[in-house]
């Protein structure tokens, strides 16, 4: 319930919007999030880059990346606002805490295995471990 979730929020702003305007837009988004009880752990202006395909007849856009921590309610609010803002060409939110936890688990397991059998029969042990890792992931 009171569990904290981590999200990555990426949005693309219209290329005609000036850079300081983009900055302001990003600050506005951050204010909404903090107002809803979330917190921002990372902000990154990825700058203007070419889109892989046209969106609303635009060939490029400014990318902004935010990392948000919170319950999920603030994401709903931010997405609602972005939907009606036509300066924002596209947005995407991805929950990352679960994936990161899983990655950490795999890393820990690998570290444990490496500690258990230090270096003996290196290639064989490595291959066996790789197979068991893959099976566990699949299962």
């Amino acid at each position: 319930m009171a569990e904290k979730r981590t999200y990555e929020l990426v949005f693309i702003v219209d290329p005609e919007v000036a850079e300081d305007e983009v900055m302001k837009l990003s600050e506005g988004v951050q204010k909404i999030i903090t107002g809803q009880g979330g917190s921002i752990t990372k902000t990154e202006m990825m700058g203007k880059r070419q889109l892989a395909y046209e969106i609303n007849h635009k060939k490029d856009g400014s990318y902004v990346l935010l990392e948000v921590e919170g319950s999920g309610a603030e994401i709903a609010e931010v997405e609602r606002r972005m939907r009606v803002n036509d300066q924002i060409l596209r947005y995407m939110t991805i929950r990352v805490d679960e994936d990161r936890r899983r990655a950490q688990k795999l890393k820990d397991r690998r570290a444990r295995k490496a500690a258990k059998q230090p270096g003996s029969g290196k290639s064989k042990a490595g291959a066996a471990q790789f197979i068991s890792d893959e099976e566990e992931l699949a299962g």
């Binding site: 990426v10 693309i12 990825m46 889109l51 892989a52 395909y53 969106i55 856009g61 990318y63 990346l65 596209r90 995407m92 991805i94 994936d99 990161r100 899983r102 990655a103 950490q104 795999l106 890393k107 690998r110 790789f130 890792d133 893959e134 992931l137 699949a138």
Partner: protein
């Protein structure tokens, strides 16, 4: 790197032939997963350079029978590519 795998025939007969090697270059070395070697646990959708090497010109995701990526990593890779497509970092289809 740009394998034109779409033009090649991967029909049933060809598949069958592979089990009994004839000719000198029939047997291909088993490819191994690059991500397993580098011990990658998470594939980021923002890493366009990396993802691009698994997306040939046409824009399709490279099948793992060609790239040799293991099943677990192929799943992660596919997810990352689809996310990158959503925010226009990669094309859905290129002409």
């Amino acid at each position: 790197m740009s394998t034109n795998y779409e033009d090649r025939d991967f029909g049933f007969e060809r598949e069958y032939d592979r089990t009994m090697p004839r000719g000198p270059r029939r047997m291909q070395r088993r490819k191994i997963c690059r991500f397993c070697i580098e011990k990658v646990d998470l594939i980021d959708f923002k890493d366009v350079k990396l993802l691009q090497s698994y997306v040939p010109e046409r824009g399709k995701i490279l099948p793992r029978r060609i790239s040799g990526v293991c099943a677990a990593h192929q799943r992660m890779l596919a997810e990352a590519i689809k996310r990158a497509r959503n925010i226009a970092l990669l094309p859905y289809a290129a002409d």
